[in-house]
Amino acid sequence: MKFYGTKIKHFTLRGVGLFCLLLAVLCSMAEGNDNLKHFSIAGVSPEKALKFGEHMYREGILPSGVPMEAVVKGDIPVEGTAFSCASCHLRSGLGSFEGLVVTPPTNGVNLFRPLKRFYRDVEVLSAPPLRPAYTDQTLADVIRVGVDPSGRTISETMPRYLLQDEDLSLLVFYLKSLSSQFSPGATSTTLRFATIVSDNVSPEEREAMLSPLENYVLTKNNQTRTYKKPPSNVRMEGWFAATHLELSLSQWVLKGPAETWRSQLEEHYRKEPVFALIGGTIRGDWRPVHDFSEENHIPGLFPITDFPVISENDWYTLYLSKGFYQEGEGAARYLNRIAEAVNDKVIIEIVRDTIEGQALSRGFQETWLETGHQPAVSVNLKKGEALTAKLLEQVLAGKKQYTLVLWDGPEALPALEAIAASAIKPESILLSYSYLDKSIRTLNEGLRDITFITYPFGLSQDKRGYKYDIPLMKKKVSGDAEKILKKTYSLLNILTQALIEMRGNYYRDNFFDVIGMMKDQRDPLYERLSFGPGQRYASKGCYIVQLGKGPNPELIKRSDWVIH
């Protein structure tokens, strides 16, 4: 009994102790949960605080909807809408360099740790940090009055923002989270990429894109493996971070109708979150992939498409060009340039009802309006419907002098010859090189003097003084596959530079921020690629050319690369 009594006593004591401990834990959890429920920043939930902070950082607008106010260079008042944090520190918060002005990083990781001294990417341990880590208070102080926690007055190029405490606390809260954890698909030594292919792309075109990409990843990883892997707790930063980077590339195949692609993309992403999409080739409009990127904040670099989404404000896809739209845009700019010559002339636009024709027409009409003109008369031709002189006569309604803008494929050329032989020969004709492709060179010589062609590529490489040999594939390719190969080359050129320039800061926004600061690039296909913060179409020009004489005519330049 005594034994039992002892046992019971021990059990009871132990049990009571455990129970009390459990009760204490449960109570503290309940109290903690209560704290989380009531956790707020300036009276709003953390989610809302982040949104307000993001709006202040990116657009310079307070939660009240009023622009932030600041003073720069001592006596210049500025509004946040003209001088937002993101305009200098960039969207990722990793900072920028322009002229002689270095804008330091303002993301959470960098702000809330001491600013170390580095010499050629090696930390200088013998000297104290340049400044201690910010706290919430000292960060608020530097934003307001420009004095950092070491007591240093920072450059007057940084505005001093006139912010109330509540608004400042929202901004500080946002900065803590800004680029603080690597994006999905990234660690300090690995980056996962995916490329998208629709199942109706030809094997030759698919290979022209995939083969160089896969070889690139293989070569890069072989190089990386020659370096000793750094300890997992060492954060790889600086110019040499990319040497330790291993890449992976998945192929996401989209099957069936385009309406189902979006859900397929979400499923692919759910299974393997990637850092970014690179390249990619599908049949048709890039819209489903563009929207997927935009809504999931996944960068898409240089998809191989002639049908990009045209947007002034979308952020997450960087295109090589505006595709067919750009040729329409070029045509409108050219006609605007010679506006005096066409001032009182009629412009008739004929549009074949295909994805190519519609894209060309959108580019043309939108730019024509933008340059201050009334919409051009536009006629849709259904697939299979013939273009005839009779149709044009009806549209012209008695007028004789007109410019014909014709967005149609090879079947247009015999129709053009018939029209030119009729009583309503146009004064000038505009055609798309990409839509007509090789057949353009068969244009009747009698029409060449009056025919102008939108040509969205660089003109003969020999004339530009340099040649590209692209040893990315074992066998020679031509036609569309050759174009895809050249575009993939451009992609790999920019990707390589971006991997280095990110300097180990594998945040998705930083990927595009560093590309936005690149210099103009020569290119094997386009005349030039140019970049800038927020710019989303790297090739921005389109020549207008005419055909020379003979069965294999040269292309004669009739405009500048970019026309204003």
Binding site: V72, D75, I76, S96, E98, S126, K540, H564
Partner: protein, 195 residues
């Protein structure tokens, strides 16, 4: 180590000077900006303004008004907001005298800077009449930048904080190198106006 500690700022200075300053004259310690007198020959090119109108640059810069030029682009991050806020504040502060001066911003990114984008940029900075923004074809812009010693070597990030002032009665141009506040800009404008 003391040697390494002293060496670091020297290395940094030379690196910055070599990479980004070329033969640009630097402001001396204590100076807010560098002011020099220059001779420029403005090339005979036709540019396009924010309204899409063609502009003969030589005629524009031979104006009887004081002309003040800077070099910016619409998606610029760091220098241009300061320069443009400076132009905007300058227009506000000189008030009725704004009629005596023509502010001209020249795009260093002509491929991207269309009239539409330039107009939106000027609206963002509340530009008043008398401040124009010019773009053009790449070769013409390169000629202008070369002539006014503002070349960027196809890298927009290398563009420098410059303001160039000229009055029709003077042979030379005043070149301001550095980001300056409005009071200093007004003072420089008054000096040029008084010539």
């Amino acid at each position: 180590m003391p040697t390494q500690k002293a060496f670091l700022p020297i290395i940094f200075f030379f690196l910055m000077a070599f990479l980004f300053c070329g033969d640009e004259v630097q402001a001396a310690p204590g100076e807010k900006y560098k002011r020099t007198l220059e001779n420029y020959v403005v090339p005979d090119v036709t540019l396009v303004d924010q309204n899409g109108a063609k502009v003969k640059l030589r005629s524009l810069l031979s104006s009887k008004k004081v002309v003040m030029i800077d070099f910016i682009f619409t998606t610029c991050t760091t220098i241009c907001p300061v320069l443009s806020a400076g132009f905007s504040n300058f227009q506000k502060r000189i008030g009725p005298d704004a009629g005596n001066v023509h502010l001209v911003s020249i795009s260093i990114d002509p491929e991207n800077d269309t009239p539409k984008k330039m107009k939106a940029y000027l609206q963002r900075y509340k530009a008043k009449p008398g401040w124009d923004f010019l773009t053009g074809n790449s070769n013409d812009i390169k000629k202008v930048l070369g002539a006014l010693k503002a070349s960027t070597a196809d890298n927009k990030m290398y563009h420098l904080p410059l303001a160039i002032l000229h009055s029709s009665s003077a042979n030379q141009w005043v070149r301001i190198y550095g980001l300056i506040g409005t009071s200093d800009l007004i003072a420089e404008y008054n000096k040029v106006l008084g010539q």
